[in-house]
Each structure stands twice: as structure tokens, then as C-alpha cells.
Amino acid sequence: MATINWKKLRKAVFSKTVYRGTASIAVLLALWELGRWLRMPILGAAPAPSEVIFLLREIVFAPDFWENWSASFKRVLTGFVAAQIIGIPLGLAMAINRVARDTAFPVLEIMRPIPPLAWVPASIIFWPTTESSIAFVIFLGAFFTVVLNVLGGARDIDVRYLRAARSLGSRPQDIFFKIVLPATLPSIFTGMAVGMGITWEVVVAAEMIAGKSGLGYLTWSSYVGGNYPLIVIGMISIGIAGYVSSSLIRLTGKLAAPWQRLF
């Protein structure tokens, strides 16, 4: 419906929930500011919100700041896209082919418990450039999540749909493209969203450990260089970047699987 339900909107904006949420965030910020100026133990060591805002006014006009953004985004995108390109077909193949599943699943299960960041040194040794080694670690971070989600989603398809499709006279390729693929779509996007979260975790750490640019590097080098408010700006930037990335995936998922909204 095109008309806006004003009563509903007003209820949503001026609700107790919004009021309470705003209040608790405001109190937290005030406490943090106060803690800084009163030199309280733990809070006092962190840069105050006012310092952060002061620096933020300058930094949004600095081009190097935005270069860090794009550097991180590029790395995330490379590793993430690679993980999808390899992971989704592998997951689907494992779902429909028993031999592929029985062969590959134990290998994945053995590799999965190793945290992606433990791969950083091995990756640096193997890959010729720092950039490619970081991208590889990011790839690993997203890869296992993607494969397991796709596999789980495709295996969970209600057997009645498959039987219905077969009794309606589908050929195997029809079953794959018209049943398995659309039915797995929501899980594919869930896997992507979770994978995206891990990806940002990994990129930040990898940049801190081995990077020369990017938001993780920015945060770490501000610490090393003693520019403490910049640490917080780096953290907030990473938070926003990660949030935007997963929101985009969720939005795409909603558009790609419109029938999901009915449930």
C-alpha cells in the first residue's frame, strides 16, 4: 500500500522503546566522556567522545582516510567473491551428489576448526604478494561458512517438493534449476551474510598483522603512533563498513527470494 499509516509511524517513533534506547546510549556516552575527564581507571584510558568528534570533523576531508576504506573494501570483495564462486557450486555439488559429499565433507570438517587467522603466516609464505596472501585468508574465512550453508540449505529441502516436481514430469536439470536452486537461495544468502561478518573480522586482523593500508591498518597504526582518537574512528569505520556490507547482502537476498517475505 502506498499510503503511509501515520498513526502507526507515530507509534513507532515516539514509543517507549525508542526513548529508552536513546536514553541508555546517551548515558553511556556521557559516562565515557566523564570517565575521561575524571581520569577513571579503565574508561579514562580511552579517548573521549568529544575528542573523537573533534578529530572526525577534520578527517572526513582527508583523502588518505578514504583510501583506507577503499583498500579494505577491495580486499573484502576479492576474497569474498572468490569464496562464493568456489563455495556455492561446491556446496550444491555436495548436496546433490552423494560421492562428492562423502568425499569432501570430512576434509572440510577437518580444516574448519583451524581459525582463519592461523593461516596468515602460511599464506604469507606461499603467496607472492602481501595483497594476495591477505585475500587468501579472507577467502578461507568466508569459504567454509558458504559451503556448509549451501549444503545444509539444499539438503533441508522438503522432500515433498522434490516428489511433486518429479510427479509433474521434471527432468533432472529441471529439478536442479527449478527446485533445488531456488529452494537453496535463502540459505545461500544466509551463508553470504554470515560469511561477510567473518570476512570483516579477518580483514581487520590481517591488516593489523601484515597490512600497509586499510581500516585495520589505520586502527593499529594510530595506536602505534599514539593518535588515540583515530583508533575509535577506525573502529567505527570498520563497524559501519561491515554493517553496510551485510545490509546490502540481506537486501539482495530479500529481492532475490521475494516469497520468503510471506513467512
Binding site: 529508552r20 534506547g21 546510549i25 560421492v99 577437518i110 606461499f126 570483516w200 586502527t219 561491515g242
Partner: protein, 294 residues
């Protein structure tokens, strides 16, 4: 007095299951497992992986691959009584690193559970608490835990506490949010039934909210311990003196490459054991979900 002429209970799981002894049933299951192609294919997969590793790094020593330590080199080092780089099954150093990391994760996990489970339960149970706490959690959650590394070092005194804090933070979010989801997942009719039967708020909390969200709590704890290991490795790499993450990074810097692999595999095994233990405890505490299956 007329007694109830109700027919015998319809379902009797104890009596209508096969009257096989536990060992018989185990032997039966094992035979069925071994006569299916699954285990052999799995074995093929794992052997292929090892073979690929061996062929590329050691036998043919392909370009780039040759720099990586091969399986033979790693195995020799790992099982040597007198290891070249000082880390093997027989060196106390190895166990010291494992203990350091395990101890840190255990502390982080302990605090995340002690604080996260009650917070999640209260958030799900009392609207007021959720209204105040949830926005803060949602505001902080998009920031990756590892982005906290510099701030943690800055804010928290000591060498050990910041590392534990990072692992704690990761586990805390997972535990709190899953517990919260667990309370949300409890069907409204259980709350209504509890109130009908005369429950006081305390009874609702202890007898409905807590047991009802148990499955989610354990999922949260399992995810929590996983992300705690994930974060710990990074924290130890950046600023550790001990622990498996430190061992990986230190061996890399010192070019003791086989040790890198030993530490990686050890991390995988220890991390797996942690989550397996939680799963086991969960299953023991929640017999009702296990028996419900099917």
C-alpha cells in the same frame, strides 16, 4: 468406585523399541556404517588432501609450494624426541603453549557465560531491560571484535587481561544474543500456562524462561567458544608472549615453518575438543530434546 477405564498408554518408547542390548545395537550400527561407502569415500578425501600436500611440497617441490613445510617434515618434527626447532610431542614447551591458550579461552568463556546468559535471559524476559540494553548491544556488535585490539591494549592494564578481554568479548556477544533469541523462541502459551498454574515471576524465570531457552544457550556457548578461539589467535599473534597464536607467529618470524603447521593443527584439534565438550554437556543436561527427536 468406578476406576478409569482409560486404555493403556498409546506410546511406550521404552517397551516398543527393539529389545537389543546396548552393545548389540552398537555392533549393529558399526556394521551398517562400515558396509556403506561413506567412510571409505571420506578416507579417500582425507588421503587425497595429504597426498596433494606431500606431492606439491615435497616430492615434486613445485614452485611456491616448495616453501611450505611438507607433511613428512612436519611429522618428523612433531614426533621427534629431539626436535630441530624445539617443539614436538615430547617437548614441554608444546604443552605449555596449549595450556596458556586453553586457560585464556576458559577464562574468557567463563566470564562470557556468567555474564552473557543472565543478561540474555533478562533481556528476553523483561521488556524494560531489553529496551535499555539491546540498542547498546546492537550498536557495538557490528564492530569486529578484532578491531578492539588496540583499544583493549590501551584501556585494560596488564598483558594478559587485554587478550582475555578480546576472547571474552567475542564469546559474550554470541552467548548473550543467542540466549536472548532463546527466550524469544519460547512459545507464548508456555508463559500463559505457567501463569494459569499460579506461578510467581520467580517461578516463570526459573522454570520456564531458563529451561525453555536452554537449547539456544548451548548453541550460543558453542558458537561463543568458537569465536573466542578465533579472536584469541589474533590477539596472541599481535601481542602475546605464550599460546598457540603466538607460537604460530613466532615460528613464522624465526622461519621455523614446520612448527607453524604443528601449531595450526593443534589449534584445530583443541578448538574442536572445546566445542565437543560443550555439545556433550548440553546433551546431558537437555535429555528432553534428545528423546523428543522423531
Amino acid at each position: 468406585m468406578t476406576s478409569f477405564s482409560t486404555p493403556k498408554p498409546l506410546s511406550h518408547p521404552a517397551s516398543d523399541s527393539f529389545s537389543l542390548s546396548a552393545t548389540d545395537r552398537f555392533r549393529h550400527a558399526a556394521r551398517r556404517f562400515l558396509s556403506s561407502p561413506g567412510p571409505y569415500l571420506g578416507l579417500t578425501g582425507i588421503v587425497s588432501l595429504l597426498l596433494f600436500w606431500y606431492l606439491t611440497t615435497e616430492l615434486f617441490a613445485l614452485p611456491r609450494f616448495s616453501k611450505l613445510p611438507g607433511p613428512v617434515a612436519v611429522w618428523t618434527e612433531f614426533t621427534s624426541r629431539n626436535p630441530t626447532y624445539g617443539t614436538s610431542l615430547f617437548s614441554p614447551e608444546y604443552y605449555k603453549h596449549i595450556l596458556w591458550s586453553s586457560w585464556r579461552v576458559a577464562q574468557a568463556f567463563f566470564w562470557a557465560t556468567i555474564l552473557g546468559v543472565p543478561l540474555g535471559l533478562l533481556m528476553g524476559w523483561q521488556r524494560k531491560i531489553r529496551d535499555y540494553v539491546f540498542p547498546v548491544v546492537e550498536l557495538l556488535r557490528p564492530i569486529p571484535v578484532l578491531a578492539w585490539v588496540p583499544l583493549a591494549i590501551l584501556m585494560i592494564p596488564g598483558r594478559e587481561a587485554p587478550i582475555i578481554f578480546l576472547a571474552f568479548l567475542a564469546a559474550f556477544f554470541a552467548t548473550t544474543l543467542n540466549t536472548f533469541l532463546g527466550v524469544e523462541s519460547i512459545d507464548e502459551s508456555y508463559f500463559r500456562a505457567a501463569r494459569c498454574l499460579g506461578s510467581k515471576p520467580r517461578d516463570v524465570f526459573l522454570r520456564v524462561v531458563f529451561p525453555g531457552s536452554m537449547p539456544y544457550i548451548f548453541t550460543g556457548m558453542q558458537i561463543g567458544v568458537g569465536v573466542a578461539w578465533f579472536s584469541l589467535v589474533a590477539a596472541e599473534m599481535v601481542s602475546g608472549e605464550h599460546g598457540l597464536g603466538f607460537l604460530i607467529w613466532d615460528s613464522y618470524v624465526l622461519s621455523q615453518y614446520p612448527v607453524v603447521v604443528i601449531a595450526m593443527v593443534t589449534l584445530g584439534v583443541v578448538g574442536y575438543l572445546y566445542s565437543a565438550i560443550i555439545r556433550l554437556v548440553g546433551r546431558m543436561l537437555m535429555r528432553w530434546t534428545v528423546r523428543t527427536g522423531g
